[in-house]
Symmetry: C2
Subunit: 435 residues, 2 copies
């Protein structure tokens, strides 16, 4: 398996939002393999359950939650955390739906930015809400939700007799790495009594960077739930995703099925604010891999400072790459001039359309040529096998952008030499195809 597999530890693996792991990550997987533990009921994995609860509350604190009040669990991936959040938002607000189901009731609607992750569409398929009820709010040119349009969209939904129940703020979009204005969204969530979920799967990791985190993530304390995936920016092995909730019992309240063969009655009294110790009651599944251990060990070993150093290095690299592309502005164009985090998105401009007026006279054709160039260069890059960098289309303010490169400047072992090489290679291949 090893020699023929994709080497995620190569610094030029910039294809996805995860990168290589590290020795602590590998050791933590080894430890999980040895223990073969299961964080569904406390008594079979008491230590691992406590580690999960501790890590959840430490993360919650960073996001401004009350440490003795918040809760959460890990889930196998951010999409799963988002699915659990969607189910929980619905079941907490409309508990009778757990038994009755949606048939015969009003249409429930949720609001996401047009650049939010597709897991909310999948969640709509899975939860029976239906993807038509996922209402897409346009983004500005930087990829942030246009909150000025949100209010009108919620009202329109109410006017149609629907029942809005949830709004998602994305902190770090998948393609552009943009951050929705959480505080402004929280205000509207309060007005309309919507569950506020912050999908910080990607950008939430920047909470560890004092330089960038607080500004980008302001307002998370107002969220009812937050997704954060340390397997993305922090080098924790796949998968490690946390769903945090402001109230400790929200997930169990929503998701328990009271399976008495597995979850026995507790001996003592339980307070309404207590963290439910049988973590499986909070999940949509049964058995649970103790993924929190991986974050716990990484945090212990590298510390908050170690995480911060890694993130700040990555942010500097992203700025360097942006600068290099700006310097060659004839050949390259940035999708966002000043990216908020680690996603640097850009087009190569083919020679044939570089100096003429096509962009003004026939913008559709101009866009088509840009998209075509991206895909051709990408095909060559993949054949060469030196660089893995993905491409993507995108909707911005309801306009479809042509395919562009998305460099995820996340690998911890990435240097300016690699970044120069990448820009040079794309330009070289582009010129070759131009000829």
């Amino acid at each position: 398996t090893l020699p023929t597999s994709v080497r995620s530890w190569n610094p030029r693996f910039m294809d996805k939002l995860y990168a290589t792991t590290n020795p602590i990550g590998v050791l933590s997987e080894l430890l999980l393999g040895l223990l073969n533990g299961n964080c569904h009921v406390f008594h079979v994995s008491p230590v691992l359950s406590l580690i999960e609860m501790t890590t959840v509350r430490e993360l919650g604190k960073l996001f401004g939650y009350q440490a003795d009040r918040c809760g959460g669990i890990t889930n196998p991936g951010g999409a799963m955390s988002n699915l659990v959040a969607t189910v929980t938002a619905r079941n907490i607000q409309f508990p009778h739906l757990k038994e009755q189901g949606l048939a015969g009731g009003p249409r429930l609607t949720l609001f996401v930015s047009e650049q939010s992750h597709y897991s909310f569409i999948k969640a709509a398929f899975a939860t029976g809400i239906g993807s038509r009820q996922v209402i897409s709010v346009p983004c500005d040119t930087k990829g942030r939700m246009r909150v000025d349009l949100l209010d009108g969209l919620v009202r329109a939904s109410l006017d149609r007799g629907e029942q809005p129940f949830m709004v998602v703020a994305t902190a770090g979009t998948t393609v552009l790495g943009a951050f929705d204005p959480i505080e402004a969204i929280a205000t509207l969530a309060q007005t309309y009594n919507l569950w506020l979920h912050v999908d910080a799967s990607w950008g939430g990791n920047l909470i560890f960077s004092r330089k960038r985190g607080p500004a980008l993530l302001r307002g998370t304390y107002q969220a009812d739930s937050i997704t954060i995936n340390p397997h993305k920016m922090l080098g924790v092995p796949l998968q490690c995703s946390f769903l945090l909730t402001r109230e400790a019992r929200a997930l169990a309240q929503s998701n328990t099925a009271e399976a008495h063969y597995l979850f026995h009655e507790p001996d003592g009294d339980q307070d309404a604010n207590d963290y439910p110790v049988d973590l499986g009651e909070s999940s949509l599944g049964c058995g649970r891999r103790p993924d929190a251990l991986k974050m716990f060990l990484a945090w212990k070993y590298y510390g908050t400072d170690g995480f911060e150093a890694r993130l700040d290095r990555a942010l500097t690299n992203a700025q360097y790459l942006t600068g290099q592309l700006r310097k060659r502005s004839a050949q390259f164009r940035l999708v966002v001039e000043d990216p908020a985090s680690l996603n640097v998105c850009f087009w190569y401009i083919p020679l044939a359309v570089r100096y003429d007026q096509l962009e003004l006279t026939d913008p559709t054709e101009f866009r088509r040529r840009l998209g075509e160039a991206t895909r051709s260069i990408h095909r060559q890059l993949r054949q060469d096998g030196q660089i893995m960098i993905d491409y993507s289309p995108l909707m911005v303010d309801s306009v479809q952008l042509p395919d562009f490169f998305r460099a995820v400047v996340n690998p911890p072992n990435l240097t300016v030499v690699d970044l120069d090489f990448i820009v040079d290679e794309i330009e070289r291949i582009g010129a070759m195809l131009d000829a």
Copy 2:
């Protein structure tokens, strides 16, 4: 973490349906940690994706599927596989619901045995179907679905104007380890056009035992989908669950959200029967841990014969334990006289009610005393820390049985010495509490 954790490698860890893993299991976790791969799109984990597809089809063959036609994916746990199966059953039969959602449509109903796994209740919460629409079919005294009642229940649901869409046959129930008659259920599934899902999370592993598998699992080839968890009986580390489908494209058809940033258009033509190579399209999540590798390596190393030897040893152990309990029939009573697989369920009968007529004169009080004895002995066992064995209540043919012990005779390193010790200990503690 190690010294204070529950030792799942102890042969007397018989609390759950999983047991210890083995060196190959630990190595496979180490390898996954090193690779940090992701089986969502083919190009980032081509080898791991091929391994997953190969393992899926090899398993499919064992269950009687056509190897060049079947498909499937791994999911993080059996409950998740069952959830994906439920969503898929619905979306394949009613594709318009993906967009429209359930509101305004008819009530969808699914049919499970009263002893089926609670993941279908959780699935009903999550999918918006509602737990009231999960119709529970009574079981016979051995824990098998009473198919004679299924027909009437489906008709009654139709008469209420509901839309039955799925029936679940459990192959290896959680508590008793019973097997529903798959063939008889398949016949009714065909009559009423229901999606047939076989939840073989636990018992499906017996497909590797020529002695027991074929008889218990007859008819699986007729299933639209099958769940099997090699992390239970085969020593593969948690988690490793496969959802197999008779038709290769069923899962992708149901679950893809066409996220173009991630899943690009394939270069060549694709046949309707082709296995979709970007496995993430088939899942409810996004990123996917390549769990199939763990089963692949275990199968390569231990072989079908190695798995069979392990299972047959476990079956022999279960028979031995059953025999020992039968020999002490004054003190112990089996819930099922002749268990079908590895679950041996029994009560300790307290001295005070052992020789009198209470069972005949006041059966409710008799049952209460049995349940109480189980819980008291269990509390002492847990304090002693020598044996981990769980207890459970159960509904049988709509009658509630009092709590009893469930010994899962699965650990590969379990010997008759351990089994004797367990029976002796329970009797010793029981006698102590009797006094």
